[in-house]
Subunit: 300 residues, 6 copies
C-alpha cells in the first residue's frame, strides 16, 4: 500500500544495512532499545539505535576478515521498542515482552542500546527459552554494585542483577578496568573475570571445547570496553582499553571455538558525545562482525 | 510481511511526523532529494531530508496558529530519491522523473532538499501538469547568475534557469539581500522582486485576488532566507534576514489570500553546520505550516 | 578548617557569582536540581546548574537596567540537590524535602534545573508556606497534557500537575506556542493564557494592582520560551519565540507592578546542546535580573 | 618569481575578498592583529583575522544596500602583524608601529582583531596623524575600568585608556549594556554614552552636521555589541543586544551624515566559539559595509 | 609591489610551513585540489588543503626521526587548483592540466586533496613523463569497483581507473580492510595487495632492491588508511587500521629501500568532521615526512 | 556558616573526587593554575583545572591496578591560584608564592595546568625545600628553546628555564618527538633524553636504585606526551605518541623503583579542543594514579 510509485528511484532509510528480511523468515532479529534513565555523567545513548543504523551505510556488507556478506543472511530490522518516559520498571518490562517472542520462535536477537540496563531485560527474555544461558560481558566497568546511589537498577548494577539471574559461574567478564574494590572481589569470586579481553576469550574458548560445549551464549558488548580513543562516544569513557582489532580478535576466537550465540547486544553508544561520528561506525561494524561470525548451526 | 510481531510495542523511525498515509490516498506527497554537488563554501545539505524528518518529532502535529493538525491530512512520505554520485545531469533527471507521477496524479508535492538546484527539477516536473505555474522564491540570494564559475547549473544560477522555464513575470522573489549588481538589475526588470518578505507577500496576495486568481503556485523556500541567527545550518548564511515569525506571517498572508499551492520545497538545510540542531527543527516547522496552511480546495 | 593557606591568592569555584552569603543570613537561597529523567528528544539539562553558575562569571554583578548589584543582596548558593538515578518519584520527593525548609524559614528560593518537572516539587514545597500561591509560567509549550506516553509525570505534563495543585485560575501561562489542541483549550478555559509574553505580563500586572495585590507568586521560566536563536541549548527548541529584551521587559513589568515573588526557577537549560555556550549565559542573566528585580519588601 | 605557472588554473587563498591592490595605490589597508592575552572567560580571538578573511568568500563583493562593489575600491590586504607570545607591551608596540606608516601616508586602515586591546594601539597610531581624532565605540561593554584584576591594560580597561588618550567628550559609546556602576557613571559624565545604538548614531550624526563637521573619526566595532544570537562567537557574549540590521542602519546613518572615517577595527571575533561559523561571516559583512559606506572624499 | 611596508612586523598566511621557494628553483611543488563531488556519506574534504597548510604551523619543520629539516628543501606552494562547481570531468581535466607542467619540468609534486578522485588526474599527469610509473596506495578501502551507483568515476572506483591506466601488477595496495568480495578478488589477482601496511612495505622494498630498482613511484595516501582514532576527520572512517607510528615505519621502509618517488598525494582529509583538529595535523606531518624522507637523488 | 541545612540531600561540586581533607592534615595538596598566556596555536588550557576536577567524577576513586583507593589518602583541594590577566611575570610569581608554603610544610603538591610554564613556577617553589630536586618530564616536545619568538618565557622554552634552575643532568626527558635540531642536541648532551617513555622509565628506575636513591623527584606530565588519539584536547597535538597503558606502565615502573615524588603537575589539557571530553578524563585518571602510586614513605 505504502510502496513508492517508481521503486527504482527511491530509497527508504531507517534500517540497518542489508536487514531486508521479513520477520517470519528471519534468522536474526535486530531491534533498538533507546533506554536512557540511569545516566550518571553524560547522556546520549537514546540516539544509539538510530545512529548505528545510519552509520552502517558507511560500511560494506562484506567482511574481508570473515569472507562473508550480510546479504547472505536473513536479518529483520524490527525498529525500536517504544519506551515510556521516565518509567524504568515499565521500560524494562516492555523490552522483555518485546523480545520474548523472537526468542520463543528460535530466532536470534541483536539488540542495540540504549544504556546497559537493557541487557537485564534481554537476558530475562532469553532465559525463558534458554534456562542454561551463559552471559559474556565485554565492558570497561564491572557493573556489579548491588546498589548505586541507593537504587538496585542502574547501569552500575546491571551485571549484578544479571548475575542474580544466571547464577554464579555463568557470567564471564572480559575487560573490566574500573569499579569498586568490592566489585572486583565479587568478580573474581563468582564471575569469570579477565582484565585482558583476549586472555578471557581464550579461556572461554577452551571451555567451549569442553564443559561448556553447546551451551547457549548471550553476548553483551558495552562499547566502553574499547579504549576511548576508539569509541569516545559513550557516557563514561574509561582510558586504558583495547583497540578495535583486539576486540575483534576476541570475538573471532569465540566464534572459531564454536560458540552457540543465541542473543547479543551492543550498548552505551552515545553518538552526541562523539562529534566525529566514528563511535556509531565502530558499533555498526561490531554488529556486522557479530552477525557474520556467529551465524552457524544453532541447535535447539 | 515485514510487520513487527507485537505492534503496540514498536516504533519504526524514518518518516516525517504524521506522514502515515499510503501513496494512493495521499493528498500530499513528501519526498527528499539529498542533492549536494555545486556547493561553493560549506557542505551538509545531503543530510537535510533525514534530519528534518527526525526533527519533526520535536514538534507537535498541531499548529495553534492555524488550529489545524497534520493528523487530519493524508500525507505520504515517499522516502528519498536515489541519486547517482557526482553526476549532476543524471541527478536532476531522476528527481524530475520521480516527481512527474504525483504531479500527473493531481497530488501536491513537498520536496526536502538538498541544495537549491533540486528546485529546477521539481519545477520542471510540475510544469508538465501546470503550464501556467508561478514560482515564489523565498531566499537570501538572487540565484540569478547565468553562469557561476563557468557552469550553467549551480545553486547560484538555479533561479535563472527557473526564470528561463516559466518566463518573465512568473517568478516572484521575496527576501534576496545578496547577489551581483547584474542579478539585482535582472530581478527588478524581469522578476517580481521584494527585499522585504512581508511586503512581497502583500503584493503577491493582492495579485492573487486579481489577475493571478487561481493560478497554480510553486513555493521554494531556501532556508537561508531567514537570518542566520534563526537558521545557522546552511551553506552560505547571509546576515540580515527576517526572523521566524516574520517568515510565517508572509506564508499565512499568501494562504489567506487563497493561494493555490501545488508544490513546494524547502532547500539548503545543512544540519552538520548547526550543532545546536535547531535549523532542522525550523525547516520541519516550516514544512508543517506549509502543509497545514495551504491545504484547501485545489481546483483542477 | 578547609580554608586555603594564603587566601588572597586563591579562588574557589563552584558558586553563582556574588552568592557568598551563609544560609542563616540569606534572603535568597539558590539551589540546583539536575533532574533529567523524562526527556523525549535531546538530553543535557543535568548540566544546567553547574554550567549556569560557571557562566555567571561572564557577566557583571551589576545590572545597568535596574541600577542594582547582586553584591548588595544576601544570596546563599546551597549547591545541588542530590538525586537518585532513574527514580523519578524519589527525586521529586527529595527536591520537595530540600526546599521545604528555606520556604518555612521565610527565605526565597531560586532553583536551577534540570528538566521542568522540578517545578512540581518546588511548587509543592512553596505551597506549604504559601497556600494561596499563584504560579506564572514562561514557556514555549503548554505542558498541560494529562498523560504523556501513558505517564502522569513528565516534562509534558508538569504544568497540568501544577494546575491540579494550585487550582483553576491560579496558573498564568505566558508564551506557549506549542501543544495539543486539547491543551490549548484547557489553557484558555482554566489557566490564564497569553501567547504574547508582554501582553500577558501587562494583564497580570493589572491584576497585581487589584484582586491579586500581595498574593505570593512563583515564577517558572522554561528557557525554551525564548526563540531558539536566543537560547538554542534546550531539549525541544520551538521556533518563533520572543527575543531576550522582550522577556526582560515582561519580567520588569511584573516587578514594577509590585509582584511579591517568593520563589522561582529557570529550567530546561541544556548546555551540551549549545556549543556556543550562550544559553547558560542567557539563563544566568535571567537569574541575575530576577534576583535584582524582585527583591523588595516581601510581607509575610 | 613565485607566480604559479598557469595562472588561470590557480587560486591563492589568504586575502580578504577583492583586496587585491598593492600597498602603494591602496586607499584602504586591511590588516590583522591576532592578539589574545587578557582573555577572562573564553578564548579564540587569535583566529579572528584568518577566519574573517576566509568567510568573506561566502559573501558577494557587491552590497545591494549601498549599490557599491568592493571591486571598485583599491584595498590592500597586508596580512597579519607578527606578535610576540605572552608579551603584551611589546605586542601593542608592534601594532602601533605597523600602523603608523599607512596613517602617515594618508591611507585608511581597517584592522581585524584579535582582542579589544588592539584598538588602543591603533588609536595611538592614528592620533599621530589626526590629533583631533574622535573615537566611536560599538560595544556591549563599557570597557572603562581603570584597572581589571590589578592590570591597567586589558579588554575591560581598553576604552578607559583610549579615553585617556583622546580626552573627555571625544569618545562616543554606542550600545553598552554591561559594566560596573562606576563605569556607567563615567560613561555618562565624560563619554558620549547611548545604550541604544541607533539613538547614538542619530545624535552623532547630528553633531557631524554641526560642531564635529569634518572631524576625523575612528570606529571600533566590538562584535559583541550584537546580540549573541547574531554573533555567538565571542569571548563574553552579553544577551540583549541589537540585531544585524539595526547595527547596519546605525553605520549607514553615520555614513550618510558625511562621517570622515580614517580608521576602523572589528574586534573580539572568536571563531572557535561559534561552530556554526556565522560570526566570522557577520564580521566580514560588517567589514564590507564599512569599506563601502565610508569611502567618499577624505579631505586632509 | 604588494610587499608589506615594514616586513619584519608582518606575517602572510596561506602557505605550507617552509614552502617558501619560488616555482623555478623548486624541487617539490605542493598544490591543493579541494575536489569534493562524489561523496557518499559525509562531506568536508574541500577544506583539506587550506586546513592542512594551517595545521602545519603546529609542527616543527625538523623531523627528529629523519634528522632533516624542511628548510633545507626548495618547496614551492602553488596554492589550490581552481575547480568548477559540480562538473567532475572538467575538474579532473583541470587538475591534470595544472600538474602536467611541473612533471614535465622534472619537479616532484605533492598534491593535497580533496577526495580520492584527484589521484586519477595526478597519475594521468605523471604518466606523461613517467610511462613506467608504479602506484602505491595506502588506503582502508580497495576503491576497485568498476562502477559505483552506476558511475565510473567516484571515490569508490578511483583505483580501478588507475589500474586501467598503469596496468596489472603496477598498483600496490597497502592496508585495505573494506570493499566488496569482488574487489578483494581483483586486488589479489591484479594488484599487489597487502592488508598489513608494514608487510606490504617490506615486500615492495624487496622489489625496489630487485626488479623495480629505479622505477618511478607515485604514492597516494588516503588518510583513512589510519585507524579512525588517529584520523577521525575523513568521510568514511573504517575501524581497525594501523596507528600513526606504523604508517610512518612503512614509509621509512620504502625510503630506505631507495624508492624514487616522483609524485604523491594525501587525500580524503575532511577537517570539519574532526572538531579536535588533529586529522589535519596528522596529514601535515605525513606531508612533512614524505617530503623529507623521499628527497634524495631522482635520476631522470 | 555556609553549610547547607539538610546535609544528606546536598552536593557541593567543585573539588577533585575524594579530595575532602582540610589543609592541615593533608598529605597531598591539589591546586589549579589556569595560566594561558603564551599559546602559539590553539587555546583552552585555562579550562583545564575546572574540567579535570569535574571529569574525575566519571572515574572511581579505586584503582584496580594498584589496589588502592583515594579515599584512603588525605588530599586537600585548594582551588585555583588567582592569576592577573595578561601579566606573565606576575602570574608566575603568584604561582610560586602560593606553592611555597605547602612545600615548606612538607606536603606534596599536585598542580593542574594551565600551560606548561606553570612548571617553572612550581619547580622554583619546590627547589626552596628540595635543592637537590630532579625533574622528570613526560612530553611530546623538547621545550628546550632558549628563546621563542624572542621571548625567554613560553611553553616552548619552559624546560630550558627549568634546566637552568636544576642544572645539567638533573632533567630527565621522556617522550619528546618534536623540536628543533638544536633542542634535540641539547637534550642529548645535557638532559637525560629518551624518545621512548618506557625505556626512559627503565633507565631512571635503574638510577633510583643506585646513584639517585632517595633523591626528591618532581614529575611534569604534559598531556601531549600521549598520542593525540588518546588526548586530543591539547594545544599542539603531536601525532605518534604512546597510548594510555604505556604511559601508566612508565609511571608504575618509577613508583615500584621507590621514587620519592615530592611534587607533580599535569599540564596543557585544553578541554574545549576535545568535544568528546575524554582528554580531561585521561588527565584525571593520570592524577589519580600519580596520587595512589607514589604515596609511600617520603623521608625528609
Amino acid at each position: 500500500m505504502e510502496e513508492p510509485w517508481s521503486p527504482g528511484l527511491w530509497e527508504r532509510p531507517g534500517r540497518f544495512m542489508a536487514a531486508e528480511a521479513g520477520y517470519p523468515e528471519a534468522l536474526w532479529v535486530l531491534a533498538g532499545a533507546p533506554l536512557e534513565l540511569t545516566v550518571s555523567y553524560r547522556a546520549g545513548t537514546r540516539w544509539g539505535p538510530a545512529r548505528i543504523r545510519e552509520a552502517s551505510y558507511a560500511l560494506e556488507t562484506y567482511s574481508p576478515h570473515l569472507d562473508r556478506d550480510l546479504e547472505e543472511l536473513a536479518i529483520h530490522d524490527a525498529g525500536d521498542i517504544a519506551l515510556p518516559l521516565g518509567n524504568l520498571g515499565q521500560s524494562l518490562a516492555r523490552i522483555e515482552a518485546a523480545l520474548r517472542r523472537p526468542y520463543a520462535g528460535g530466532k536470534r536477537v541483536l539488540l542495540l542500546g540504549g544504556e546497559h540496563l537493557v541487557t537485564l531485560a534481554a537476558v530475562n527474555a532469553a532465559l525463558d527459552r534458554y534456562p542454561d544461558l551463559v552471559v559474556v560481558q565485554l565492558d570497561a566497568h564491572t557493573d556489579l554494585r548491588d546498589r548505586y546511589l541507593d537504587e538496585p537498577y542502574s547501569h552500575a548494577t546491571v551485571m549484578r542483577r544479571v548475575l542474580d539471574l544466571v547464577g554464579p559461574g555463568r557470567l564471564w567478564q572480559l575487560g573490566p578496568r574500573s569499579g569498586l574494590r568490592e566489585e572486583f572481589q565479587l568478580a573474581r569470586e563468582q564471575g569469570r573475570f579477565y582484565h585482558d579481553v583476549e586472555e578471557g576469550a581464550d579461556a572461554l574458548a577452551g571451555q567451549l571445547a569442553g564443559p561448556l560445549r553447546g551451551v547457549p551464549l548471550y553476548l553483551t558488548v558495552d562499547i566502553d570496553v574499547l579504549d576511548p580513543s576508539v569509541a569516545p562516544g559513550t557516557g563514561t569513557p574509561e582510558p586504558g582499553g583495547p583497540d578495535f582489532a583486539t576486540l575483534l580478535r576476541a570475538l573471532y576466537r569465540l566464534a572459531r571455538a564454536g560458540a552457540r550465540l543465541v542473543g547479543a547486544d551492543i550498548v552505551e553508544t552515545a553518538p552526541p558525545l562523539d562529534p566525529s561520528g566514528r563511535t556509531e561506525i565502530v558499533a555498526a561494524k561490531i554488529a556486522r562482525e557479530i552477525l557474520l561470525a556467529f551465524t552457524g548451526e544453532v541447535a535447539q
